[in-house]
């Protein structure tokens, strides 16, 4: 049945290199989430804007981000923008691609979350003397984040999974990139990618647990 001899030793020897890659993966995912949340909040505010331009930006962004593959978006960030003279290196192209995707999904999540915060909260804040900006950032946003924390955690896991696509635009420092580099030198595909799969699983679990811990600290009464 097994005509194949597994070579685990050289694969396990590469573990330090792969852990280094895992750090880069985590770094890209976190960065893309932080920027994605910021952009997502802005877009969700645009969504209720009466200004046609702002609403247009929101609608286009969200629809393109949600209706085309992430791989396509990353490809666009690298080769598409490249043709327009905007040259991003692989790392930046991946970051831009994932952030674009994150922001699109998060904007819709936030829009739902904002609806869950009763109008009366804003009115109460305004009548207590908060200006519109303060009412939004100090009263509405914190309540919204509580409502959308779970979908946000999911999006973070998605962001980690999406970083694996950087390899198509020449990124070789993240976990998948490092693994593929090892693979094309030795062609022990299964061994290296099996280790990568375990590492991805662990990263996803650590992030989910971390998010639960944060939620527990932030949102208990």
């Amino acid at each position: 049945m097994f005509n194949y001899t597994f070579h685990w030793r050289p694969a396990l020897n590469a573990l330090p290199q792969m852990l280094q890659g895992a750090l880069v993966t985590l770094q890209i995912a976190v960065l893309s989430m932080v920027i994605g949340i910021a952009v997502g909040v802005v877009l969700s505010v645009f969504s209720s804007s009466r200004n046609k331009l702002l609403y247009g930006i929101y609608a286009t962004w969200v629809e393109v981000a949600r209706n085309t593959p992430a791989l396509f978006q990353i490809y666009m960030a690298y080769f598409g923008l490249g043709q327009l003279g905007i040259r991003l290196d692989s790392f930046l192209a991946l970051l831009v691609g994932i952030t674009f995707n994150n922001a699109g999904y998060l904007a819709e999540t936030f829009r739902g979350g904002l609806r869950a915060v009763p109008q009366t909260q804003t009115r109460a804040a305004r009548s207590l003397g908060f200006n519109a900006y303060e009412a939004f950032t100090l009263i509405v946003l914190p309540q919204m984040f509580r409502a959308v924390f779970h979908p946000m955690t999911n999006q973070m896991v998605w962001a980690i999974l999406m970083t694996s696509l950087g390899v198509v635009v020449g990124l070789n420092s993240d976990l998948t990139g490092v693994t593929q580099d090892l693979n094309v030198r030795t062609f022990r595909t299964f061994e290296y990618f099996a280790i990568a799969a375990v590492l991805y699983y662990l990263i996803a679990k650590v992030v989910t647990l971390g998010a639960r811990l944060i939620a527990w600290r932030l949102f208990r009464y």
Partner: protein
């Protein structure tokens, strides 16, 4: 008995997973009537696509000749460079006619025929990058297809330079040319045949060849599974016949250009 279903299941699974071991790959190919060649189609003139997106090139024609010799129909399995060997190992292709350099590292995984072509490598760069020789690559943004002969040599040299040059490993040759033309990288090292074909294709107006890369001659072979001696033996004889019948020279003139095809004899050595 309690165990009967279990035993039956186990027997069934074994039946599923053990392929009949009597016929070797060469028999399988002849019996199936189809030869599945792994070819690289972003590597003109060795392999590319015509305007109706059909595979063409030196490698494609070589695959056709091999299929004809075997009396079967050729089928092309397109693989980017890093995917050639996985395609063979995973059984998606029977042989690789894909300009595969015969490195010792790869020979741990797959089997090589005698060389069927030979390349020399040159520096391909953008006209505005200010690179005239191989030495000018120091400190520049470089890239190549991950894991290829020239990529490994380039990366080795970069280690000895120790300067601030960066290396990007792509998953397809086309991506390297694209990134070079757009400016994400400044130069690459690639086989001279392909470099000139690419510059002359008219697709890129801003690329040029800047001198030779000081690498040994890059002999490329047909590849098959390591343990398929019958097939590898056939491939050796096939390459030999291509050369002695003059077909090798003919295909060279058809796809690469005027003049004599590269000498495949390794000086001062047997093969």
């Amino acid at each position: 008995m309690k165990w009967t279903p279990l035993v039956a299941t186990a027997a069934f699974l074994t039946m599923l997973t053990v392929p009949p071991a009597f016929a070797d790959k060469l028999d399988d190919i002849i019996a199936s009537g189809v030869l599945r060649c792994a070819v690289v189609l972003d590597f003109p003139p060795m392999g590319s696509r015509d305007t109706s997106n059909n595979p063409i090139g030196f490698d494609v024609d070589t695959c056709n000749d091999l299929a004809k010799a075997l009396g079967v129909t050729p089928e092309y399995v397109e693989t980017p460079f890093p995917d050639r060997i996985p395609a063979l190992v995973s059984g998606r292709a029977d042989v690789g006619v894909a300009s595969t350099s015969d490195t010792l590292e790869r020979a741990k995984t797959i089997g090589f025929s005698i060389p069927y072509f030979a390349f020399t490598n040159v520096v391909l760069t953008r006209t505005d990058a200010g690179i005239e020789t191989y030495d000018d690559l120091k400190g520049k943004k470089l890239g190549s297809v991950a894991g290829t002969f020239e990529a490994i040599l380039l990366e080795d040299d970069m280690k000895t330079w120790g300067s601030s040059s960066t290396f990007q490993g792509f998953q397809a040759q086309a991506d390297v040319f694209q990134a070079l033309s757009q400016g994400q990288i400044d130069a690459t090292v690639v086989t001279s045949t392909v470099a000139f074909a690419t510059v002359n294709s008219g697709n890129f107006t801003n690329l040029k060849v800047s001198g030779d890369a000081p690498y040994p001659v890059d002999y490329v072979s047909l590849i098959g599974l390591r343990q398929e001696y019958g097939l590898l033996n056939y491939l050796n004889l096939f390459v030999n016949h291509q050369i002695r019948s003059g077909r090798y020279q003919e295909l060279y003139n058809k796809w690469v250009g005027e003049g004599a095809a590269p000498n495949l004899l390794i000086p001062g050595s047997y093969y």
